[in-house]
């Protein structure tokens, strides 16, 4: 082989040549970079940003619904919902680490979590092995389940499982006022009741958050930091209802009792303030627990105070009565002949017991709920006036209360009314009303003639304390003159004290009311035989009413007269309420007297009256408090801004400073009790 001379120089030349090639490469790179970075820079940059940002929606806890005193009815707390990022879970084995122990993470996770989450292991495994970055596993975990899951994840070092905080609705009083409150679906949207009507206010802010995520979907940085903490503080508005939960509790209890005793198909109770139109209590049966609304049939979700219509029957009579009084057709003393039954065209309408009282006053017609008398009145009124007055009383139109699904009721068109229809209207059949409409009309009688718009929202308060909305009395119109109302009130009082409503009597209180036993409409038309709607409506105290209440029982079994089943509910419920609210009896008739209570031989001590602080300039003179209890003393001391430091309990026997000392406001008074 020829040995070609290859000198160092030759090599050097080659080196230079190769070096030159490399330099060319660098120049090419620089050129390509120019293209990428400068020319296409923004476009590519945008693409890079898009894949990194993630827009998610986050919810703040739903606004609270509370009663008029702030007692919580529906609240939301943030709970954790579990989701899995399957990509992350399955990518955990890095290449090169295959020598280390391989864990089938999805299988392990499915195994361990199945019992806690109550989901089958196979179902979980399937979710974990999907392709994707976000799959709900279980939403709204209970706090203790959440803690268990966290523990399992930590102990087994399970990747890919994360939590998102969501708002979960709790109805703290379970089924109390369930239909009024309604309920909420999984995505924090109200589906019924106030939750539906006020959904936009309660739902509040929906935060949109942009954040940077890595290829696994994990957050790099939040635009706003400490999001979780901030969310708890961001509150939504609180809705205060006019409902008084104490009253509500009483009627719920009464309703349960009534349903049990009478086996009725359904029931409704309403309490209203006759002067303002505020709804103090509203209950329906059958009912449900909004915390688990799905477990109940949809018919339980119905708010029977507003969403059902019925023929009121005799409770409509006072209203017709005021029509007669206003038109001047009758006065309370107008004589009416009651023959037990009356014939109108081809119909015969009789009294409930078939017997007549002969000649009686109009007020007796109301007192004893005499059909014949009412029919005579109705015929004299005529179709046109009957319907006009009914409309004036607000029948045939929804009241406009802030709840959804309110019925309008059904009124005849006077042109279509035959004589029997005119007659039956006077006794409360042939008109369909909601319990709320009926009660509202009675309230017009109770308050002296004002037809009010009922409302259930007392106020809505924004998180910063500002009152967004305030419920107030709204007078729709003046229906009757105050004198007419007063006359009817007196008559209604006699219903309870002397007439058919005796079962509603509460000793010591003046109650006005009306019983009603109406035939129930059959589904196919006409009336269902043997099926009645038993109601009682009334207000107390009769002369200056503070509460108006309606009780309606649908198809009670066994006893079915309003006076038998509904009036006692009225009585028991109101008795509790009157005592709870401290409304003094009008008289002590029938109430046990002090003497009756004192056992013979017991010394009757005339109670000393509590000595009062005497003011001296800016200071106070402390009296001798011996013999009195702490509560009474504190009340007295508060007047002078003095503070009680009690020792022991019982009756006071020693005090410092002693009686008669002058002290400055804010002084601490020490008193020993035994």
């Amino acid at each position: 082989m020829k040995r070609i001379k290859f000198t160092l120089n030759d090599s050097r030349n080659r080196l230079l040549f190769l070096g030159g090639l490399i330099l060319l490469m660098f120049i090419a790179v620089a050129g390509k970079l120019l293209y990428i970075q400068i020319i296409s820079g923004t476009e590519l940059g945008k693409r890079a940003t898009i894949q990194v940002t993630d827009k998610i929606k986050r919810h703040t806890p739903r606004g609270r619904i509370v009663d008029r005193n702030g007692e919580e009815l529906a609240v939301s707390i943030m709970v954790h919902s579990l989701y899995v990022n399957p990509d992350e879970m399955n990518k955990s084995a890095k290449p090169g680490k295959e020598k280390t122990e391989y864990r089938d993470i999805p299988r392990i996770a499915a195994q361990k979590l199945a019992p806690v989450l109550n989901i089958s292991e196979n179902a979980l495994y399937e979710e974990f092995t999907l392709k994707g970055q976000f799959v709900w596993v279980k939403r709204m975990l209970e706090p203790k389940d959440y803690e268990q899951v966290v523990k399992i994840i930590k102990e087994n070092k399970l990747p890919g499982l994360h939590f998102i905080a969501e708002s979960k609705r709790y109805y703290t009083k379970k089924s109390m006022a369930a239909q009024v409150l309604g309920f909420v679906g999984t995505d924090d949207s109200g589906l019924s009741g106030l939750e539906l009507a006020l959904d936009s206010i309660l739902k509040g802010a929906e935060m949109r958050q942009t954040k940077m995520v890595d290829a696994m979907g994990r957050t790099i940085a939040d635009q706003d930091t400490d999001l979780e903490e901030n969310r708890e503080k961001i509150q939504v508005a609180t809705v205060y209802l006019t409902i008084d939960s104490k009253m509500q509790f009483v009627i719920e209890d009464a309703l349960d009792d009534a349903m049990k005793r009478t086996n009725a198909a359904a029931a409704a109770v309403l309490i209203m303030d006759p002067h303002t139109g505020a709804i103090l209590a509203m209950g329906s049966r059958p009912t449900f627990d909004p915390n688990h609304f799905g477990k109940y049939p949809a018919v339980n979700w119905l708010n029977r105070a507003i969403s059902i219509i019925y023929e009121p029957g005799s409770v409509f009579k006072p209203i017709v009565g005021t029509m007669g009084l206003s038109e001047g057709i009758v006065t309370p003393d107008t004589p009416i002949n009651d023959t037990g039954s009356i014939r109108i065209a081809d119909r015969v309408i009789s009294n409930w017991d078939g017997s007549g009282m002969g000649m009686c006053k109009f007020e007796d017609i109301i007192k004893y709920s005499i059909n014949t008398g009412m029919v005579q009145l109705g015929m004299k009124l005529g179709a046109q006036r009957e319907i006009e007055w009914a409309k004036r009383y607000g029948f045939g139109t929804a009241t406009g209360i802030e709840l959804p699904s309110e019925e309008d009721g059904i009124l005849y068109d006077p042109k279509n009314m035959y004589e029997p229809d005119i007659a039956t209207l006077a006794i409360g059949q042939g008109i369909a009303v909601t319990p709320l409409q009926e009660l509202r009309a009675i309230c017009a009688i109770a308050n002296g003639g004002e037809l009010l718009r009922p409302y259930i929202i007392d106020r809505i308060v924004a998180p910063n304390g500002e009152v967004i909305r305030k419920g107030k009395k709204q007078v729709v119109r003046n229906v009757i003159k105050p004198e007419v109302a007063a006359q009817m009130r007196t008559m209604m009082e006699k219903v309870v004290s002397e007439g058919g409503g005796k079962t509603a009597r509460i000793k010591g209180y003046r109650i006005a009311g009306k019983t009603g036993t109406a035939q129930k409409i059959a589904e196919q038309g006409g009336y269902a035989p043997g099926k009645y709607i038993a109601s009682f409506v009334g207000f107390v105290p009769a002369d200056k009413p503070q509460y108006a209440m309606l009780v309606m029982l649908d198809t009670p079994r066994g006893a079915f007269y309003g006076s038998q089943v509904s009036a006692p509910i009225f009585r028991d419920t109101l008795q509790q309420i009157l005592v709870a609210k401290g409304i003094q009896p009008s008289n002590s008739e029938g109430l046990p007297s002090f003497e009756a209570h004192v056992k013979p031989g017991q010394r009757v001590e005339t109670p000393k009256s509590l000595p009062a602080l005497k003011q001296k300039g800016n200071n106070w003179i402390v009296p001798d408090f011996s013999g009195f209890d702490a509560r009474a003393i504190t009340g007295e001391l508060q007047k002078g801004n003095l503070v009680l430091e009690p020792y022991g309990s019982g009756k006071a026997y020693k005090q410092k400073p002693s009686g008669g000392t002058e002290v400055q406001p804010g002084t601490k008074i020490e008193i020993w009790f035994r």
């Binding site: 070609i4 660098f26 090419a28 590519l44 940059g45």
Partner: protein, 276 residues
């Protein structure tokens, strides 16, 4: 891995310039090394080893014929590659990775997005989003893409300039090295280090198909770092040797004692005297 290059290079350096194949022991050894590396698997590094060896041979003086035939062989291989349809698809994918941004083109499109988003001056510090698991090998082979994203075009140019300057320095050292082994050492080192840098950058920007070549001093990897520094160290050693020698020669030419320390010895010895 780099150590094996060095081993090769040293051997190469030991051998004074030789022709083609009779002296292809180094080549065979390097082939063996390359095969081992290839089986790791690390095709990129194996390719480097082999290519480097070829390069050294070219420098060492294989005939133009052989160079030409090597080049021809390369073209043939490319042609063969084009035949198989999936390979062809991959080559097209290389050309336009946006056809399949989630699949085969993922690496490239991510790289391009990363670089492009850097614009002129780069994104604000740390905000380079691609390193959050979007760009594969973001800390190793594709570190340059992240560098471009965060330092922008200006930064990239600066980096290129650094390498160019380094190359220029090393070539200068090589050019001035009288000792053939030292020359080969430095030349090979230059090719190795700078060639790698250029290749990496070309790959990251899409000029080359994706080969697993890291970027010197910037890509993550402790062994690689040490190996690179070792290489540079050798280069510097050669430089010092050569400069010492040059100084000595200059001093002799100028009539000065060759080294500063031992004047006595120099004066007395004739051996280091160059004939005029």
């Amino acid at each position: 891995m780099a150590a094996s290059f060095l081993g090769d290079r040293l051997q190469r350096g030991l051998r004074v310039s030789l022709l083609g194949y009779p002296s292809n022991q180094a080549l065979i050894i390097s082939l063996v090394f390359a095969a081992l590396i290839f089986l790791q698997p690390d095709m990129g590094t194996a390719t480097i080893v082999f290519a480097l060896m070829l390069g050294m041979y070219v420098l060492a003086g294989i005939s133009k014929m052989q160079i030409a035939s090597l080049g021809g062989l390369g073209i043939v291989i490319c042609g063969l590659a084009m035949l198989a349809p999936y390979r062809r698809a991959r080559i097209f994918l290389w050309w336009d990775p946006w056809q399949d941004p989630q699949g085969g083109g993922y690496q490239m499109t991510q790289s391009l997005m990363a670089i492009g988003s850097g614009g002129l001056t780069g994104l604000p510090w740390g905000q380079g989003s691609s390193k959050f698991f979007f760009l594969p090998e973001a800390h190793t082979d594709f570190a340059f893409a992240i560098f471009c994203q965060e330092w922008g075009y200006i930064g990239a140019l600066f980096l290129i300039a650094c390498f160019v300057i380094m190359a220029w320095a090393m070539v200068t050292i090589a050019m001035n090295a009288k000792d053939r082994r030292g020359y080969m050492l430095v030349a090979g080192s230059t090719l190795f280090l700078i060639g790698q840098a250029a290749a990496n950058m070309a790959m990251v920007t899409g000029l080359f198909p994706v080969i697993g070549v890291p970027l010197m001093f910037i890509s993550y990897g402790g062994t690689s770092l040490i190996a690179n520094m070792f290489t540079l160290g050798l280069v510097v050693a050669v430089y010092r040797n050569e400069s010492a020698r040059e100084t000595m020669e200059e001093r002799i030419a100028a009539g000065l004692p060759p080294t500063e320390e031992n004047r006595l010895r120099v004066v007395s010895s004739n051996r280091n005297r160059r004939p005029f």
